[in-house]
Each structure stands twice: as C-alpha cells, then as structure tokens.
Amino acid sequence: MSDVSSGDERIKEMSKVRKALMRPELGGIVGTVAVFVFFGLFAFDSGMFNAQGIMNWSVVSAQFMIIAVGACLLMISGEFDLSVGSMIGFAGMMIAIFGVTLGWPMWIAILVTFVICVAFGALNGYIVVKTGLPSFIVTLATLFILRGFTIFIPQTIERKTIIGGIREAAEGDWLAPLFGAKIGAPIFNWLGDMGIIATFERGNRMGEPVVDGIPMLMVWALGLVIFGHWLLTRTRFGNWIFASGGDADAARNSGVPVNAVKIQMFMFTAFCATVFAVCQVMEFGSAGADRGLLKEFEAIIAVVIGGALLTGGYGSVIGAALGALIFGVVQQGLFFAGVESSLFRVFLGVILLAAVILNTYIRRIITGER
C-alpha cells in the first residue's frame, strides 16, 4: 500500500492474500472442495470412489470440460453460442454419413467434419459481427438449423435416425485412435494385477482390470484446458479476448481486431463441440439425432460456476474446468448417493444457484464492486 499517494490504482501494490482472492477461479476451488467433502460424507462407500466410479464421474466431467473451454473463451470475448449441443449431434451425424453411409476413409470423414463444423462456427461469428445482432439470437437459429439437418439427413438417406457401425469403419484408421483410443493400459493392467483396482469376475474379459485405460476424451479435455489457459493468460491474443468482451469500442480504438477475435472464438467453440462429438461417436460406435441435447446450457453453466461473467470480459479457463468438474461430480454423485431420481434436477438447480450466488458475493466483496 506504499503507492497510494500516486493515485494510480493499476500500479497499486496489493497484499498476496487479496490478490489470491481476486482470482475468478476462487469460487470454483471452494465449490470443488465443498462438493468432494459432501459426497465423501454421503456417498463414500457407494462405489463412487473406486476405480470404476472415479472413471465414471471423471469422464462426464471431461466431457463438460471440452465444451466449457470453448464456451468460456467465447463468453469472455463477450458472446454466447447456443448451437453447441446441436453442433455435437450434427458433427457426429456427419462422421457417420461420410464414414459409414458413403464409406469414406475415417480420417477424411473426421477432417471434413471438422472443416464443415468450424465453418459453421465462422458463419455464426460472421453474422453476429456483421449484423450486430445478439449472438444469443443468431446461435439460437443455428441450434434449430443444425438439429433439423441432423434429423433430416439420416432420415432421408438411411430411413433411420441412428447410424451405427462407426467403430467397425474406424478400425485400422490412423486418425480415429486420437479420439477413441485409451492410453496407459499397461499401468492399469499392473494396478489390476496388484489388486489395487478391481478386475472382471467373469466373461471373456475375466482378470482384466475394470478400468483399462484413460480415454483420449480426458486427454483432449486436459489439453484444451491447458491450451485455453495459456492462450488467455500468457499471450497477447488472450488480452485481446478480455478486451473484446470488456469494452469492444475501447478495444477497437486501441487497435484490437475485435471482429476477428470474436469470429475466431466462435470457430474455437465449434472446434471444441466437434472434438466432443468425434470422441463420443468413436466410443459408442453410433451417431444419433438426439445427441448433445441441452449441452449448450451445460457448457454455459460450467463456465458460470467457474466464475466467468455472462456479460463478458471476466473469467478463467481453470475456473471453467473446475465448474465442469463440479457439474460432473454432482450429476453422477447424486446417483451414487441414492438420491430419489425425480429430485435430481432440484438438487442440481439448488447447487448451481448456490455456486453462482457464492461467486458473485465473493467477487463483490473482493473487488469492491457494487
């Protein structure tokens, strides 16, 4: 507090504690601890914390993380994308159409799908930037358009809304394992042999560990979180993202290419949705017209739990990742805790509301904003 007399708050020194408390991910950290304590107390011996259980909520959290990273950066740059869920369904269906129905090699199907989906993201961004319409409305339109195609195309070509056989079509492909494989099998085999994790008791996989590897889905989630965090906090582009969402006019006046930043963030969000979709179809082997329903809101919720502002200009990728973790653990944990299933949404709503109120409260106290 030595420089108070200079009157410039930007170079004012702050205590380390206060600085730590000002981080947007504080709420996420507190929430994560609270959630684990809660389920540790109520669901400890329910199988939630054995190997299978941990894998279960980790995979669900990793799914949320993948789309939350895209949604987080986009939200910080001041925009929304409501078409994420439809994009997931659409991307999966495109891969099925190209790779199974048309019989293209799987790597071409995956690459072409990425190109189409990122192009849709760019189109979203272009329309928002050029027309000045709220992204809420523009991407709501995309939500319906993409979902419509996802039902119409397979219904017309194949007379059904679920196309299977993707796993078989992807066999021996060089690109597909990047999304569908599992890594670390030897480690898990060893853990199984040592009796640290359970093994299958019967069937043709008898003796194999119940968890046989880390799915690439989780590797993608961690990779995207690290990339997003680095981009946002360690690069000039990251500052541009904050500036575009904080005050777009001020940013423009100081030479930030706001339009380009926003369009690129829409493309990145579409990219994340496509990663989600490719991992999903590679794991499950089929694409369905109902995949990804409401996922856009789940992404936004994770980001908001993680401390980002809906109005843009403030937030953190680490926070969003923690938000995704909280969301995943709560969602699956309620099942483990044996909560009556019809009350599931009530719990989810209460916990989300509590997290967001807590975040706002902490931020107001710390930043002194009214």
Binding site: F38, R202, S286
Partner: protein, 316 residues
C-alpha cells in the same frame, strides 16, 4: 464471507440428509437399479416406477429408477456405467441402441452384476450382451401384428405419429405396421416432437394435406392424447381408423367412446415387476425361468375394459 460459505454448506447438507437417509434405510435386501432410456417428459414410465415400487415392497428389496433427463442415449450409457460402479446385485435396463449400450452393459455383466433387458431391444441382443433374459414386447413383431389386423379391417394407408423419432424402436413399430399392411412406409411417419400442442397441430396439418388417409397409428399417450384432440377438432373422430401402442387414461376413454379401435398393451407393469421378482429369486434360491418373457402384445378393445380402466396409468 467464511460464515456465509459455512451456512450455505450446512443448509445444503441439512436439506439433503432426510432424503439420503430415507433412501438408504430401505436397503436391507438386495439392491437393484432400473435404467430406462425415456426422457423425463414421457409419462408412460410412471407405470414402470409403480411396478418396481410394488415388486420392491413385496420382495423386500431396494429398486432405484434412473433415466437420462433429455433422453440422450449417450448419457444413458454413462448412467449404466455409474450403476455398475455402485455395485448393485442386478441392473434392469432397456436396450434402445445396441451400439451405444452394449459396451457398458457387457462391462457390468463381466464385473459381476446380473442384467435383465426389459422393454426395448430384442431377445437376440439380450443374449449377445450376456443378460439373464429379455422381458418385453418385440417392437417390430407387435407393429406387424397390428398392421395385419388393420389390413383385415380394410386399411390401405395410414399416418404414424412418432413422438420419439430418435429411438430406432419407435420407427420399427411404424415399419412393422407398414409391412403388415403391405404398403411402403414412405412419408407416412411424421416426427411429431414431444410438445402436445405441436403434436396436435402436426396431425391436423397432415390430415388436411392428406385427407384420404385411412388410419392413424400413435406410439403412446404422448402422441395419442393430442391426436385425440386433433380428431375431435377436425371432426374425424370415430370416422378414421385409430390404433395406438400403449395405454393411458385418455386412450382408455377413447377406446370406450369408439374413437380408438384398439390399443396395444405391452403391459409395462410386467416388464418392471417381473425382472425384480425373477432376479430376487435367482439371487436367493438360484432359480431362473428357462426362457425370455413376452409381456405383450395384447390388443385392448372396447370389450372387457373395466379392469384396464381402473388401473390405467397406474398399473396398466
């Protein structure tokens, strides 16, 4: 700030305690989990919930019901994985998409959890994933039987009101009906959506665009109830041949009033009740029926409606 946090946590914990205690106190006997593919909005599954509640009470076992809230089948796969991780004695699940669900189900079977397939799926698929048995109504065959019945009644064209287009078993019912009639399904199946007002208006629109349609096939109360309203509105009630899958209160009234010619009862109560009973006896005494159980199809017409009417939507 700290005290606020503590208060919030305490409130959450206190609010949760009675619910958790309530569900765990019943866990004396075996524990079973029933996983369905139905979204929350599908009221038909209430009968299933009542079925497992009754079976759980009579057999002194705990049965939990779980479903993906939006009907997303990929989410359902996660729920099955989660159910297996919580180490119940058995899982009763639908098999609405073989590709998506076979992995999680086989993993559950291999990790020592017994599985019975109910409702959707085929007996062959149930055997393939290592399930003990299949309890349900083979969908295509039921549609086919209904189509043949309608063909005998002189029907040549129809409208299939599909309120759950993303589930392959729904389309199979329509396809079976078309094959039973001996006509091409073509554009006679519409994606009606889940919203009653939308379903009603789509049916109205289709019927005014295709006034020569002989018959209507609905796939359950979700599509049948709005269709009844639509037919009352355009005056075709009673004039057009109307068959439906599944039963519900409005459907029973429709059958009684002569608006609906027949309802196909697949008896979901049995699909939920029997697996619990079968599995409990298997786990207690090692006895298991040697075959799959067909819970339907049974055609419900205006004759002998009394019992059906009394329990429609509850046990029927």
């Amino acid at each position: 700030m700290k005290s606020t946090m503590r208060k919030l946590l305490l409130t959450a914990a206190i609010a949760a305690t009675p619910l958790l205690a309530a569900t765990q106190a019943a866990a004396e006997g075996e524990k079973y989990i029933l996983v369905s593919h139905a979204p929350d909005s599908d009221s038909w599954w209430n009968t299933v919930k009542n079925g497992i509640a009754l079976a759980g009470e009579q057999m002194d076992v705990t049965v939990e019901y779980r479903n993906p809230p939006t009907g997303d089948l990929a989410d359902m796969a996660r729920i099955i994985e989660q159910a297996a991780a919580s180490q119940p004695d058995g899982i009763i699940t639908t098999l609405s998409d073989y590709d998506v669900l076979k992995g999680p189900i086989m993993a559950a079977v291999d990790s020592g959890v017994d599985v019975i397939i109910m409702n959707t799926g085929t007996p062959e698929q149930a055997a393939e994933v290592g399930a003990l048995m299949y309890v349900g109504q083979p969908e295509y065959d039921a549609g086919l039987a209904a189509g043949k019945r309608a063909a005998r009644d002189g029907i040549e064209s129809f409208l299939c009101v599909n309120h759950y287009i993303s589930s392959p078993s729904s389309a199979e019912r329509c396809q079976g009906f078309a094959d039973g009639l001996g006509v091409d399904l073509g554009n006679q199946m519409i994606d009606a959506g889940q919203d009653p007002a939308e379903i009603k208006n789509r049916v109205l629109a289709y019927l005014s665009a295709n006034p020569k349609t002989d018959a209507i096939l609905t796939l359950g109360p979700t599509s049948a109830d709005p269709t009844l309203l639509a037919l009352n509105e355009n005056g075709m009630a009673g004039a057009i041949y109307f068959g439906t899958f599944d039963l519900g209160e409005e459907i029973i009234k429709g059958i009684k009033a002569g608006v609906i010619n027949w309802g196909i009862d697949q008896q979901p109560f049995l699909q939920a009740y029997l697996p619990v009973v079968v599995m409990t006896n298997y786990h207690r005494y090692g006895v298991l029926p040697g075959n799959n159980i067909n819970s339907g199809p049974g055609f419900v017409t205006a004759d002998g409606l009394e019992k059906v009417e009394e329990f429609a939507g509850e046990y029927r």
